[in-house]
Every structure is written in structure tokens, then in C-alpha cells.
């Protein structure tokens, strides 16, 4: 079973599902079959069942799961593969164009702030 980590937040709407990775500051819009797949994963569906249930070919499903893994949207034991954009991962699959990634707010994150300490022991950036 593929599990969604606690730092990944998601909310489904009629037209798309918004998925936010709070650790990386990236967020995603899943539409069409990608939104359906994500909904099944959130509900704990076995990845073995997904292909038949949603009518998605196993190689296409595998590329979708690799994308989720690369983006830290699921916990998985897959080995790290090459870094590709959503468009590259899903090119030539039935899921092409159904995942958008947005990185415009990652600058808000202080992943490793440079800091010092004042005389009272309080950190300052």
C-alpha cells in the first residue's frame, strides 16, 4: 500500500485536487485520471488494484507513482530514479497534462536559515 505522509496536505474539488508538500514548498494540481488515482491512494487502495479499476495501463501507473515518489507525495520503498518534471514523467501516457507542479512559494521556506545567537541565547537570522 502506498501511504501519504503527514506533511502532504490535499483537498479535492470538482475540477481538480490540490496537493501541498509542506516540507518542500511545492504544490500540485491533479485533474482527470490523476485526481482519481490520487483519491484512491489517499483511501488506501492497493496499487495492484488501481490499474484494473481505473483502466490505466501498468506502465502509465508506474510512471505516475514514480512522479509521486520523486515529489515526496507518498512514502515508498522505490529506488531513487532520475529527476524529471511532471510533464516528462507523464509524456506519452494517458495521464499526460493532468498534473501541474507550482514552485512559486518555495522562497517562503527557511530550510536552513543562517543564524547567530544574541547574548541571551536567542537565535537571530
Amino acid at each position: 500500500m502506498t501511504k501519504v505522509p503527514s506533511y502532504v496536505l490535499h483537498e479535492a474539488f470538482d475540477d481538480e485536487t490540490v496537493v501541498v508538500n509542506m516540507n518542500r514548498g511545492h504544490y500540485f494540481a491533479f485533474s482527470g485520471q490523476s485526481a482519481d488515482l490520487w483519491g484512491e491512494i489517499v483511501r488506501g487502495a492497493s496499487t495492484g488494484d488501481l490499474s484494473a479499476r481505473l483502466g490505466i495501463k501498468p506502465p502509465d501507473l508506474d510512471r505516475f507513482l514514480s512522479l509521486l515518489d520523486q515529489e515526496g507525495l507518498v512514502e515508498s520503498s522505490r529506488e531513487a530514479t532520475e529527476q524529471l518534471s511532471p510533464e516528462e514523467w507523464l509524456a506519452d501516457t494517458v495521464l499526460a497534462g493532468s498534473v501541474e507542479r507550482f514552485t512559486d512559494i518555495e522562497g517562503l521556506l527557511l530550510i536552513d536559515p543562517i543564524h547567530e545567537f544574541d547574548q541571551n541565547g536567542w537565535p537571530t537570522a
Binding site: 496536505l9 509542506m22 514548498g25 544574541d118 541571551n120 537570522a125
Partner: protein, 346 residues
């Protein structure tokens, strides 16, 4: 009974405030977003700067009938520089901070704690007692974003207990109906809101942050009397006065009179501004997912709270209020007419 880490530090910080207040304090009672706030300030020689900092709150003086005992928040605020009284030395590591400055080890269902390393501002609240603490190293050293939206963490925590969500959005109104303006920096939120200042029909409610309550019908509440605008945008807005700060992003902070800001109103529309290469403005229906992308991530990363419950509240908001694209043309007069007609028709 053994105190939790959160309660132990809260009590130590409260004692530090008591010490700071020995040298003098002042009290104010006012209403903000429908909630009573008793503010006790110990700022020493920084009193003038402190009062200027607090004047950015879109508050109004509390009347006798406002609020009931036990429902008000008491906020103890002090300047370490002004009073010479520092916070107790923290026993947490830099890595204990979340990206939003929260300290999970010092936060639980009752207490919330945060420390902003840039502004060197400490905030904590005891939700059970209705008591909050806010200590800044020095008011005069605070960055622009603190002057534009003071006490943000504490206001966010206090309002969230009643399903009132702070959001990263501007807001305007007309005909007693409010519009939320959502989108990334540079999309035209602030400029659109500022264009509504002192307009015959439209009103300014907020720039950057406001509160939305979802208890019954969704309502917008103003929180801050400020507007941050780029220099070019200010040229088309009369009567703004002199700006105060530039934070290196090219935006200048303007203080607004409370009388120029509308009170809380029903929220009837979510608008997503986008600057287009066209003369005229237009408003077109938009999907809920697009509205969610414009509102949720930037709010989640800028404001404290339980991200999961915030996401649920904002999802509820988006499902209940129609969303539209606001295509901003070059003709500012036409924009105001378009906004007025949109709000009138709702």
C-alpha cells in the same frame, strides 16, 4: 502536578513581562474581528514606536456592551530593548522551529508558541486562560512585514478557536458584499484593493491578510490598516500619504485611517486578479481548484496554526463562495466599474 514544557516556558515568560511592567505599563481595550482584546503594553523608552506599531491594527475602541467576561483575550506586550527585560533563555534548538517559526515542542492543545528569527519576536498564547504574550527585541528594528501586520500569530491562534481563518488575501466591498482577492505576489491584489480607497461605491477592507469566519455565512473581517504597494501603483491612487518603509522588494508600506476601511461584511465572491494586456477589465467564472491554488499554499506557508485544519477550513470556504478570474486591464476606471457591477449583481 508537573507542568508541561509549554506551560513552564509560558509562565517564565509571563514573569518576565511582570518584571518589565514594574517600570510602567499602559492598557487599551478594543475590538478586532468581533473579539475583545485587552492589551497591556510595557515598552519603556520605546513607547512611541510601540503605539505606532499597534496603530496598524484595524481595531475600534470597545464599548461597554462588547464582549463578555472570560471571552476577551488579554495580551501582554513588551519590548526587551525598551524595558531592559529579556525573555528567559530558550531551551530549544534552531532546528525545533517549523518553517513558520512555530515551536511544536512548546505547543499543544492549550498553548501555542512561536519565535520569528528575522524579527526576533516571540509570541505565545494560553487558549484556556485567554492570555497571550508578545515580546520583541526592539520595535524600531522590526522588519516591514511586522509593521504591516502586527501580532499576526497571536491573532491567528485566538481567532481559529471559533473557526475564523486568517488568509493571505486582499479584500474589497460594495453594496454590503465582500470580495476576497487571492493570488501570488505581483498579481494585482494590493493595487486593486488600494484603488477602492475612498471610492464612491467601493470600499477597501484589507491588503495582504484578513480574517474569514465560517460559522454561519462566510464573512470577511479587516485586521490591519495598512497597504503595501509598489511605487508605480501609488501614482494612480490619490490621497495615500507618505509611505514609510521599503523592504527591498520595492514595496512601500502605507498607513490607512480606520475610517477608510470597511467593517466586517458577508463574503460573496472570490476574485483571482491577473494582469492582462488589454484595455478593459473583465470577470469570468473560474474553477474551485484554481481558487484553492491561489489561496491555500501561500496562506499555509505564511501563517501559523494546524495546517491540516486550515486546509479544511479554506476548502470549506472555497466550496461555499463562487470564484472568478479578474482580468485586470490598463484602464483603472474601467476596473472599478467592472468590480462595482460584479458586486451589485451578486
Amino acid at each position: 502536578m508537573e507542568l508541561s514544557e509549554a506551560e513552564t516556558f509560558f509562565e517564565a515568560a509571563r514573569l518576565a513581562f511582570d518584571h518589565a511592567a514594574l517600570f510602567g505599563s499602559s492598557q487599551q481595550r478594543f475590538m478586532l474581528a468581533g473579539e475583545g482584546l485587552n492589551l497591556v503594553l510595557a515598552a519603556g523608552h520605546e513607547a512611541e514606536a510601540a503605539n505606532r506599531y499597534l496603530s496598524a491594527l484595524a481595531a475600534r475602541p470597545a464599548a461597554e456592551e462588547d464582549g463578555q467576561a472570560g471571552e476577551n483575550l488579554t495580551l501582554l506586550l513588551w519590548s526587551a530593548e525598551g524595558t531592559g527585560v529579556n525573555l528567559p533563555t530558550p531551551d530549544w534548538r534552531v532546528s525545533d522551529h517549523t518553517i513558520r517559526g512555530e515551536l511544536p515542542r512548546f505547543s499543544d492543545g492549550r498553548f501555542k508558541t512561536s519565535y520569528n528569527m528575522q524579527s526576533r519576536a516571540f509570541s505565545a498564547i494560553d487558549l484556556q486562560q485567554g492570555l497571550a504574550l508578545h515580546c520583541v527585541r526592539s520595535f524600531t528594528d522590526l522588519p516591514q512585514y511586522e509593521w504591516g501586520a502586527p501580532l499576526r500569530d497571536i491573532i491567528c491562534w485566538w481567532l481559529s478557536r471559533k473557526s475564523v481563518q486568517l488568509v493571505h488575501a486582499s479584500a474589497v466591498s460594495a453594496f454590503g458584499k465582500g470580495a476576497l482577492l487571492v493570488g501570488p505576489g505581483g498579481s494585482g491584489k494590493s493595487t486593486t484593493a488600494a484603488q477602492c480607497l475612498r471610492h464612491d461605491t467601493l470600499s477597501f477592507i484589507s491588503d495582504d491578510y484578513c480574517a474569514v469566519s465560517l460559522r454561519n455565512e462566510p464573512r470577511i473581517h479587516p485586521l490591519f490598516c495598512t497597504s503595501k504597494l509598489c511605487v508605480v501603483a501609488t501614482q494612480s491612487i490619490p490621497g495615500l500619504g507618505a509611505g514609510e518603509f521599503s523592504d527591498g522588494t520595492g514595496k512601500i508600506l502605507f498607513r490607512l485611517a480606520r475610517a477608510d476601511i470597511a467593517d466586517d461584511l458577508p463574503l460573496r465572491t472570490i476574485l483571482m486578479p491577473e494582469i492582462v494586456d488589454a484595455e478593459h477589465s473583465e470577470i469570468l467564472p473560474a474553477g474551485k481548484g484554481r481558487a484553492a491554488r491561489r489561496l491555500m499554499p501561500s496562506t499555509l506557508f505564511q501563517l501559523p496554526g494546524s495546517a491540516r485544519s486550515e486546509m479544511v477550513l479554506m476548502g470549506d470556504l472555497i466550496r461555499r463562495v463562487p470564484a472568478f478570474r479578474l482580468r485586470l486591464g490598463r484602464d483603472r476606471g474601467d476596473l472599478l466599474t467592472t468590480l462595482t457591477e460584479h458586486l451589485k449583481a451578486l
